[in-house]
């Protein structure tokens, strides 16, 4: 029988939530790595019991943990992330140039074909890859050495590479996104990169439609249609139908188009989900009502999903990495909040329930559908 495993990263450890295909009763284990920030945990699509976790701390720095048995036991692997060659500089908050400095891994993206190959998105923005199951990491420096690199600047939350999308139809194509540099694409397996931000407009930069400098919060795609990408930007929900050559706004009737996560239904490539947040100054839901918004038309037309979600006095946030879907016949949708709740819907978002309520602030949610 099918089952579902949620890999939840929090401010104070990782938790693993499991259920059978009905998704009614959940078993919770953890905290794994208690007391550490777990930015992201993700499993290999090739070997679902091979998991990788990004574990970090202001005191002790970065660790990467690997499990070969679905999270029952873990082993620390390589944690040396060195920028390639002379690191160079990027723009700092005061406009001066600042050396690139590794701080932490925000995102781990296992290869679609090899369980030993994983990409890591780092702060300061850099893309790293291991081909030996995490023992050693090497930078794909063509991204950082893109001509615009010295102009990239951190947002208030740092300059993190937070989204890595591997094109399932083209092993040479990779999409990434950086706060606050924008989206980039490689068509040669990560050797060279170019910005794909045409059509984005951002009021926080002097040139609102500049080639780079946009604060992209998240990008998502459906594997059946990898040229169509959906983006939650700092403000604005966007869509491209040509792999990022041009974007158009699809915010439509959203009550606010600020937010962090965006995701796509497992079986309906034009059904997408966002969680509108009041503003960049007030990171909580509008009017204290936690609402997921769903579009079944690929954007522009949105409906509020509220059944089972708190509709008063709710002031949590939902972070960029904290939403995912399963691939069961009735698509499950999941998200975690900074208040420590993980909400689940087994019916594409029509109804919701909290499967756990009192975790530390949730940083990431990844779903594994186990057959």
């Amino acid at each position: 029988m099918s089952s579902v495993r949620l890999l939840v990263g929090t401010r104070k450890g990782a938790f693993i939530l499991t259920s059978d295909g009905k998704r009614e009763n959940w078993d919770v284990t953890g905290p794994h790595f208690a007391g550490w920030e777990i930015y992201h945990v993700k499993g290999s699509p090739v070997d679902p019991n091979r998991l990788y976790a990004s574990q970090c701390s202001g005191w002790f720095g970065q660790l990467i943990q690997r499990s070969d048995n679905g999270g029952k036991t873990w082993e620390p692997v390589g944690n040396q992330f060195s920028y390639d060659g002379v690191p160079g500089t990027h723009q700092w908050y005061d406009g001066t140039q600042h050396p690139w400095e590794f701080k932490r891994v925000w995102h781990l993206e296992p290869s679609l074909t090899d369980p030993d190959t994983v990409y890591a998105g780092a702060e300061d923005a850099g893309l790293f890859r291991t081909v030996d199951a995490g023992v050693s990491w090497h930078e794909l420096s063509g991204l950082r050495k893109h001509g615009s690199g010295p102009t990239w600047a951190p947002g208030a939350g740092g300059m993190g590479l937070h989204t890595i999308l591997l094109d399932p139809s083209d092993p040479n194509r990779i999409f990434i996104a950086i706060s606050a540099a924008g989206a980039f694409r490689s068509d040669d397996a990560g050797e060279t990169w170019r910005p794909i931000n045409r059509g984005l407009r951002s009021a926080h930069i002097p040139d609102v439609d500049a080639e780079t400098g946009h604060c992209v919060h998240r990008i998502a795609l459906h594997p059946s249609r990898p040229d169509v990408l959906f983006m939650q930007k700092h403000w604005d929900v966007m869509r491209t139908d040509n792999a990022g050559e041009s974007w158009r706004e699809i915010s439509g009737n959203l009550p606010t188009d600020f937010g962090f996560p965006i995701d796509v239904h497992a079986h309906e490539p034009d059904t997408i989900y966002v969680v509108p947040i009041k503003s960049d100054a007030e990171h909580f839901p509008l009017d204290g009502k936690l609402r997921v918004y769903r579009s079944r038309t690929g954007g522009d037309e949105w409906e509020a999903l509220t059944n089972g979600l708190p509709q008063s006095d709710c002031y949590v946030n939902v972070l960029r990495e904290a939403m995912d879907v399963d691939t069961l016949d009735s698509c499950g949708v999941y998200f975690g909040t900074t208040g420590g709740q993980v909400y689940a819907s087994a019916d594409s978002g029509d109804t919701w329930s909290a499967i756990v309520r009192d975790l530390p602030a949730v940083l990431s949610v990844e779903v594994q559908t186990l057959l």
Binding site: W59, F60, L63, P76, N79, S82
Partner: protein, 98 residues
Amino acid sequence: MIRVVLPAHLRTLAGLNGEVRLDVEGAITQRSVLDALEARYPMLRGTIRDHTTLRRRAFLRFFACEQDLSLDAPDTPLPDAVAAGAEPFLVVGAIAGG
């Protein structure tokens, strides 16, 4: 025999209960003690010192014999009592405050 006391998170990471006892060759310094510690427990590499520069991580301190040795050069000899195993070399996490 050199005695080293680690913060709780690093003891958990290295699978340790209590203090570490290390045989250290040559002069007993911060560098030689941490080299020996990381050689025995490779998972600690990068958690006390930066991988490349080998500089102490900013939120950790090195204490021994009621002295803060954090700002000493890495090759400065540690106190005789540490070298003799009478006192431990302590790696201490800064308090978060609040």
